[in-house]
Structure formats: C-alpha cells, structure tokens
C-alpha cells in the first residue's frame, strides 16, 4: 500500500441553525492512498458536500482529525487553510468558475499569484502553459473563457487545478453541466492524469456511471460511510471515445 494522502478519523460536522443542531457528518473514517481515483457518491443531503468542503480545507470539522500528507489540518486558522488550499489541493467545480473576459492562460495562472513566497512571472507562465498542454488546450491559451465551449472551459479549470502540482485533485460534480460525450472527454483527462502522473483524484458525483471511471467508490448516506469498495469493471474513457463516431466538425 502506498503512503496515505488523506487520513480521516472520527470526523463529525454539526451545523447549528438557530437552536436546531443539524449533524452533517457523524464519525467518518477514511484512508486514501496516493494515486487512487476515488469516487464519492450519495444522494443530496448525505454529507458528501460537507466532506468535500472539509477535505478541501474550505471548512473545519466540529471534531475529529484530518491528516493531509501526514499533517493535521483540522485545526488550522483561516489563513493557514488558505495556504494549504493553494499548495496541496486542486479544485474543479461543476460550474467551472473561470474569470470572465480573461484569457485561458491568465485563468490557469491565478492560483500561482497567491503562491506563498511568490513566483517569478516567467516560471508562472511556463507552468501555466505546461498545464494547458496537459489538458490539450495549448492552442487556446489566449482565448477568453467565454469564447470556449463548456468542455473546453472545464479543461481550463482542470489545468488551473493542476498548475500548483497539488497532492489531490478535488472535483465536485465536474460533469454536472456537460453532455455525455463532453463528460467522457473530461473523465478521459482525469484518468490520464491519474494514470500518467499518479495524481490522487477525489471525484464527488451522484451519477453512478461517472463514478465507474474511478478505481474505488465510497457511498455516503446520512453523514456516514455506507459502502467502500473497489470498482470491479472500471470504465476507460479513451476506449469509449474511440468507439464513438468522430465528433462532427
């Protein structure tokens, strides 16, 4: 077994709304090793979004521990969490969240601007260009985000997540706004990055067929892990794309 990237112990999260306490996570234990492609599924309200926020260091647990790369990040301050997000986590969102009227290259460069200790403009440019190449959009570097298709926008967002060379890629419903073919293309990139670069991918989805692109699926319900198993018949996006008729151009 490879070294663990994520270790979660007895994690709970309780929201207090007025006088009502809403438990969102009730004692979650989780180990994810480097190079895994984990799909987290569950209906809405199951706590998977809350888990995603805590694993993404956007929120802190009520109790329990969360080790990222061996470091306990469950009790860090807001600024320290921001530094962890910047250095260790790459986010891909359902709604892409690109800056409008801004070139693909500038969008990809964005996290590097917040790099602690700074980074030279030349190095930022080199890394951003490389990240765009990795998602096959080198030729679109100077297109504005609104001049790109949905699939292309999500690929720019993946490049933006990659550019900091994070420990984990955290993708929250990345195919939610895309048609099935484009979804396949995006999953192809995740699979390739996972296979070629051994990047740990954490995919939050409620679609079972999307979950099957991973190596392991964790099912959530009522704030608890309901099931955790390896995927027997993993889907391979490359082969499926090849089998499809070529995209009419």
């Amino acid at each position: 077994m490879d070294e663990p990237v994520i270790t979660v112990r007895d994690l709970t999260k309780t929201y207090v709304v007025g006088e009502i306490r809403v438990p969102a996570l009730q004692g979650v234990n989780l180990d994810i090793a480097r190079g895994e492609f984990v799909a987290v599924t569950g209906p809405s309200g199951s706590g998977k979004s809350t888990l995603m926020h805590i694993l993404g260091c956007l929120d802190r647990p009520t109790s329990g521990q969360y080790f990222l790369d061996g470091r306990d990040v469950s009790k860090l301050s807001r600024d320290e969490l921001a530094a962890v997000r910047n250095g260790n986590i790459g986010f891909v969102f359902q709604g892409f969240n690109l800056l409008a009227r801004t070139s693909a290259l500038d969008n990809v460069e964005l996290p590097l601007l917040y790099r602690r200790g700074g980074m030279s403009a030349r190095e930022r440019h080199r890394r951003s260009t490389a990240a765009l190449e990795a998602v096959g959009l080198a030729d679109r570097a100077h297109h504005h985000s609104n001049q790109l298709s949905g699939g292309q926008q999500q690929r720019v967002a993946i490049a933006r997540a990659l550019v900091t060379e994070p420990s984990i890629l955290l993708a929250d419903e990345p195919t939610g706004n895309l048609d099935s073919r484009t979804s396949m293309e995006v999953m192809e990139i995740f699979q390739r990055l996972n296979a070629e670069r051994r990047i740990t991918v954490l995919l939050i989805t409620h679609e079972h067929d999307i979950a099957e692109y991973g190596t392991r699926v964790i099912a959530f319900r009522d704030g608890r892990v309901l099931g955790d198993q390896a995927i027997a018949r993993r889907r391979a996006a490359t082969g499926e794309l090849a089998a499809l008729a070529p995209r009419p151009s």
């Binding site: 956007l58 530094a83 986010f91 969102f93 009227r101 933006r160």
Partner: protein, 406 residues
C-alpha cells in the same frame, strides 16, 4: 500576494468593465477639477486685487484727521480741525524715511464751462501727488510750488472731467472753468487710470492746490489728510509709527488718550480685501469639496455592487488560496486606483478649465499647487475610506457560501 501583483489584478478587474470604471471615475474627476478650478478662480481674484493695491503703492501712508468730539457728540472722521500744514511740514522735515508727502483738502464742487457742467470732487493737494499716486500728465503740466504758495486758481483735470467739459477733440489746457463760480485756469490733463480696487472711477476728479481749496473754496486753515510715501515698502510701518509719535507730540495728546487723527497704510487695507477674497475662495472650495465627497460615495456604491456581483469570483480566489487580506487588498486597491486615476484626470481637467475660464470668460485664475495637492490627497483618502467597507465585506465572505452564490 505582492502589492505590485495586487495592483495588476486590480487593473485587470477594472479593465473588464470599462464603462463602469469610466463613469465611477467621472465623479472623482468632476470633484477634483471643481476644487482646483474654484480655488484657481478665488486665487486669481485675490492676486488681481493684490496687484491693484501694489500698483497703488504698498509704501503709501495716509493720515486722516480723526474723530472730533464736541460736548460728547462725535462729529465723524475728518471733522477734527487739528491737522495743519505745519504738521505736514514737520512730518516731512523730521520723520526719517519719508520720500514724498502732500497735504490734502477736498470738497465736492460744481464745474461749469460754456454750456457744460459737471459735479465732481476737487482734491486739493501739493505738487508731489503725481509722484505718490503714479499719475502721468498727458496734456500741459501739473501745478507748481508757486501755485501752491500763492493759492493760485489753477486746476488739473482727470480725463473723465476733461471729456465731460470739453469733449475729446477740444483743447482743454489754457481754458477757464468755473469752480463754485470762481474762474480756475486749466493747466494740465491727467492720463486715464481707470477704476480703483474699490470700484471708483479715479479719472472723475479735479486736482487744485490744497491752499486754493482752503482759502478760495472752503475758507478753512486746517487740512483733512496727509498722504505720504515711504522710501521703501519695508519702511512703511516704521514711518507710520514715526508719524503717529510726532503728531501726538505736536497735538499734545497725553499718554492714554486717543489720537485725534488716523494713520493707515495701504498694506492694512489690502489685507482686509485679501481676507475677504480668501473667505470667498474657501467657500467656493468647500462647495466643490462636496462634489468630491459625492464622487467618493459613488466609488463606494460601485465597489459594493462589484463585491456582490463578483461574490463567486471572491469565493473562487479564496478556494485557490487567497487569504482574507489578499481579497481585502484587491478591492481596496481597486477603489484607490479608481479614485487616484480620477484624481489625476481631474487635475488635468482642472488646469484646462482654469485656463479656459481665464481665456474665454476673462476672469483671472491662478492654479494653486496646494489646492492640487489637497484635492489629489483627498481623492486618495476618499478611495481608501470609501473602498474599505466594501473590501472588508468581500474579505469576510465565507468561501463556501461565496462559491455557491448565484
């Protein structure tokens, strides 16, 4: 994130919405330009008044006969009969630093020549008056010391009086005019000087020897005033003090008793006028300052809208590693850039407007460097002050809520 990079991010953000940026800046531009132009107008008025007074001579000292009280009833300034030609002579001979001096007695008179008549002020003076008041004689000559000694019936006309009595084409020198029914011979005409700083027409006047006014027109022996010019402007105050001391001695005024004369320098009168225009300038500038304030509120309004509109962007930046202070600084810098850029353009517009007013309206304007600095500084402060609240609002957003914001 470094300040330089923050600045670049802010510029990019402002560049993304050019029309809004321009309109927000417009508030600042108008405010700064208004302050600069208003102060320039006030300053222009002030320096033109100062120039007029200076041309009249800052080394001028005027001694007026003072209050005279008869049985407890004040008779008004100039009513005292204690000022004499001997006082004038004593001042000339004993007070150091006196350059020129003239005794003065004046009265209102009716002038008649042929079928023309005119009412004006006859000013009885000594021969040095043209030197003190910078009058130039355009026709004939000023009267002579002999004329003064003999109380001769001679007159020198101001250009307005000359035109009223003779018309512009007729020769005046050598003609006889009747002053209170007594024949006076015109010996000279003065070149026009135009209006005084107080708005009087200085050319509507008539100069005669003060002795003639005393003996031929009024039948008095005292004089009403003495006009003195000090050898230099720096000596004015000292000469004025010397005159006061001498006259108190000559008039036997006990220490503690009030003067029966009044010594004033033009500098004092100038400072009163300057004070008035300064108040006016301050008033204009504060009205213009209100528009600066309104411009600042405009910036705050736009920044608040901008923060709301870009909530998702803020959430994204936070998710990507921006600290609260990075977000705070970004929006603060955006506000400051708006106000500073507006301020800079405002300075240019202010200069142009001041120059435009000077050239096309004809009012004197002087752009005051401190007004430029003040307006610009205020613009910058406005940016920080009105930018802070929206920026703090942005920085306090929760990244999860911000990312979910629709």
């Amino acid at each position: 994130m470094s300040l330089l990079m923050t600045l670049r991010v802010a510029l990019k953000a402002l560049n993304r919405n050019k029309l809004r940026t321009a309109l927000t800046m417009l508030g600042m531009i108008i405010g700064v330009a208004a302050v600069i132009t208003m102060v320039a107008l006030g300053r222009g008025a002030q320096s033109s008044i100062e120039d007029q007074i200076r041309s009249a001579g800052t080394n001028l000292i005027i001694v007026n006969a003072g209050n005279w009280t008869v049985g407890g009833v004040h008779q008004g300034q100039g009513a005292a009969t204690t000022l004499t030609r001997e006082d004038a002579a004593a001042v000339r001979d004993t007070v150091p630093g006196v350059q020129y001096l003239t005794a003065g007695v004046s009265t209102r008179v009716q002038l008649v020549t042929g079928n023309q008549n005119w009412s004006t002020r006859a000013q009885g003076t000594d021969v040095d008056l043209p030197l003190i008041r910078s009058w130039t004689v355009s026709e004939g000559a000023f009267f002579t010391p002999q004329d003064v000694a003999s109380a001769a019936k001679v007159a020198v006309l101001g250009s307005v009086v000359r035109d009223r009595l003779f018309g512009p084409d007729e020769d005046a020198v050598g003609k006889i005019i009747r002053v209170r029914n007594q024949p006076f011979k015109v010996v000279g005409v003065l070149a026009s000087k135009g209006q005084s700083a107080g708005g009087d027409d200085q050319d509507d006047t008539l100069f005669v020897p003060y002795t003639s006014v005393q003996r031929k027109l009024l039948g008095i022996t005292h004089i009403q005033n003495i006009t003195i010019s000090a050898a230099s402007a720096a000596e004015t105050t000292r000469v004025a003090d010397g005159v006061t001391a001498l006259l108190r001695t000559r008039h036997k005024i006990q220490p503690g008793d009030p003067d029966d004369f009044m010594v004033r320098t033009l500098e004092e009168m100038a400072s009163v006028r300057t004070e008035t225009t300064r108040t006016m300038t301050a008033l204009l500038a504060s009205i213009a300052g209100v528009s600066l304030l309104v411009g600042g509120i405009g910036i705050m309004n736009i920044m608040l809208v901008s923060v709301t509109e870009r909530t998702r962007e803020i959430g994204l930046r936070m998710a990507l590693g921006a600290r609260a202070r990075d977000v705070l600084l970004q929006f603060l810098v955006e506000a400051v850039v708006l106000s500073l850029a507006g301020g800079l353009v405002g300075i240019v517009v202010g200069f142009a407007a001041s120059e435009g007013v000077r050239r096309f309206v004809g009012w004197p304007t002087t752009v005051a460097p401190e007004a430029v600095l003040m307006a610009f500084g205020f613009a910058a402060a406005t940016g920080v002050f009105f930018g802070f609240y929206p920026a703090r609002k942005a920085a306090r957003l929760d990244p999860i809520d911000a990312l979910r914001y629709e």
